[in-house]
Point group: C2
Chain length 360, copies 2
């Protein structure tokens, strides 16, 4: 993908910087770990520090000190997963802040306006995202709204200009849960919006649905979405999920797993995960992952990391986060190389067999 | 000071790595900030991860990944400030861990044995450290014990060898509270121990005594201690305290102030301190300190740091810690240069006038 901030190669994984910081890390470190694009959350930044301040900062890049591309979501997913007392109508959604209960309202137009203020390179339409066990009727209703809102977002996007000189790209979000007919219907409606839509995102996944239904949906989407525009699988997933999703044509990913699990002591390795809090690592002087080039594995032992977690030292959170992100970002780099060299099938088979076969 | 790990120039400040990590920072960062020596706590490392494991690690340098000199204290101060149910006798001290109430006993010999296992470059005798408002009789008693324990520590030190190939240096601790006669008595007793004592530390300060009594004690010590051995002022203090203590002949310092206060949002500047949580910094786009070369001030604004504290982002703790340590370590570097160039009096007068004159 070409941005005014440089070229980004797919497939790629976006570390999450909810409040304008990838938790525990500085922007330069995130770059060093191999990140090309960072994701940040409109809902959270809207609440803190607030968009008026973000505008005076000159946008999110200056705010957080990240000079690469940034994707912001529309706030839709957070409203449906975090906010209390949601009230939904065809015009928009009214909700209470999860922080202090204060009342707010987002509309499709406001979602675009907010992301113009934030100035992200990639901006998302406002969508309605039901839970994975919602009824078909609920999914149909969500789909109808999401489609109408996508149109309104696109209109607002076309009627407004970027504020900080660099172009922004609009993503539409395919909804429809795990129902093939709804997914087809959603995709066709979004394709009909025309070529101003830069990319297509797959929403309504990783919301509690069974994994086989996720992959069935991906298989279907692979046949429906155009091949010349990036496809973003929102909120997925484990390293194995990512490899399988890439084999089904997905290009972009974000997920809290590597960073959140790191803070709980769970580390990713080519042989699966390990939890560093386990007493078996008390006197394990080996690195978390042999030959890993991250700041943790090149300098410190499992025993030291366990000690940092046992004594609640912040450095432990940092090192674990850096390792997990490096694991994810290196995985994507390996996938890109394997694809370029025409050996993706074999590479991914070997990776999955090792990753799912045994525990470290 | 000459170490097998290189030369250290005085005066210097030692960042504190209680559990084998300077809170929130990696060893390479601490080095980058200008630290020459790190202090770590025998009491804490004895409890977690335990000395058996430290021995198997090959000592504290390998454990924490710091290749410069390290000073460990004897555990005395922590026993008197943290442990519960202390029981003191002439042979040693029995105490309950502040973590789980388990029972432990330190003797002077054990303090040396533990620090042989840790392998610090600078090791301290076990001392008794009464509070700043203790009675004269209590100070006399503490002094008697500290003097006897220093002799036993030195004997054990002379009877044992370093475990990891590099030499270790023994510090004795002058006690005596704020009483000139006791301080004189303590100093004379320690000087009588002979030349194996590498340095003299001033203990029993920064324990609640009035500041003018601290400086009166320093004035006295300046006349009593030999000029050719480093003098370590334990646990002091503010930037202004350090400047004044250097003018009274002190060479080495450690203090939790820069790191602990950073985590509470208090930042040091040449014009005094500021608390970044204050709402006045909400839209203050200036750096915390103009022209500061630390990772915070070169990249981020006061408003962003305040946002990180407001959203409890770990990055905020890191950046504030880095700034405060850089402030302390740069202060020491400026003092060293001013001393070398014969303009210490003028430099320190200007610093104190600016630092104590107004608030940032």
């Amino acid at each position: 993908m070409e941005f005014s901030r440089g070229t980004v190669t797919t497939p790629f994984f976006m570390p999450i910087g909810t409040y304008g910081a990838v938790k525990t890390l500085a922007p330069g470190e995130v770059r060093e770990l191999g990140a090309q694009v960072i994701l940040s959350n409109t809902y959270h930044l809207y609440l803190r520090p607030g968009l008026e301040l973000m505008g005076r900062f000159g946008g999110i890049h200056k705010f957080m000190g990240w000079d690469g591309p940034i994707l912001t979501d529309s706030g839709g997913f957070q409203i449906f997963s975090l906010a209390t007392l949601r009230k939904l109508d065809d015009d928009g959604v009214t909700f209470q802040s999860h922080l202090n209960g204060s009342l707010h309202r987002f509309t499709p137009e406001k979602a675009i306006d907010m992301q113009r203020v934030l100035g992200a390179d990639l901006v998302m339409v406002l969508d309605e995202c039901p839970s994975g066990d919602a009824s078909l009727a609920e999914w149909q209703e969500a789909l109808r709204r999401t489609t109408a809102w996508a149109r309104r977002c696109l209109d607002r996007f076309n009627a407004t200009e970027p504020r900080y000189g660099h172009p922004q790209n609009l993503f539409c979000i395919v909804q429809g849960g795990t129902d093939p007919q709804l997914r087809r219907q959603s995709t066709e409606a979004l394709l009909a919006l025309g070529p101003e839509v830069s990319c297509y995102a797959l929403g309504g996944v990783a919301v509690g649905e069974p994994k086989e239904e996720l992959f069935a949906t991906l298989e279907l989407m692979n046949t429906l979405l155009p091949g010349d525009k990036p496809r973003y699988l929102m909120g997925v997933g484990t390293p194995a999920d990512l490899v399988r999703a890439v084999s089904l044509g997905m290009d972009m990913f974000d997920c809290v797993l590597p960073t959140r699990n790191a803070r709980n002591g769970q580390l990713f390795t080519p042989f699966g995960t390990l939890n560093i809090r386990n007493s078996r690592y008390r006197d394990d002087f080996a690195p978390v992952q042999e030959n890993c080039d991250c700041p943790l594995c090149t300098q410190f032992s499992r025993a030291y990391l366990r000690h940092l977690f046992a004594t609640r030292e912040v450095l432990g959170l940092r090192l674990a986060t850096a390792h997990n992100l490096r694991f994810y970002l290196r995985l994507m780099a390996h996938l890109r190389t394997a694809i370029r060299e025409g050996r993706f099938q074999r590479w991914s088979r070997e990776f999955l067999s090792r990753y799912e076969g045994e525990q470290a």
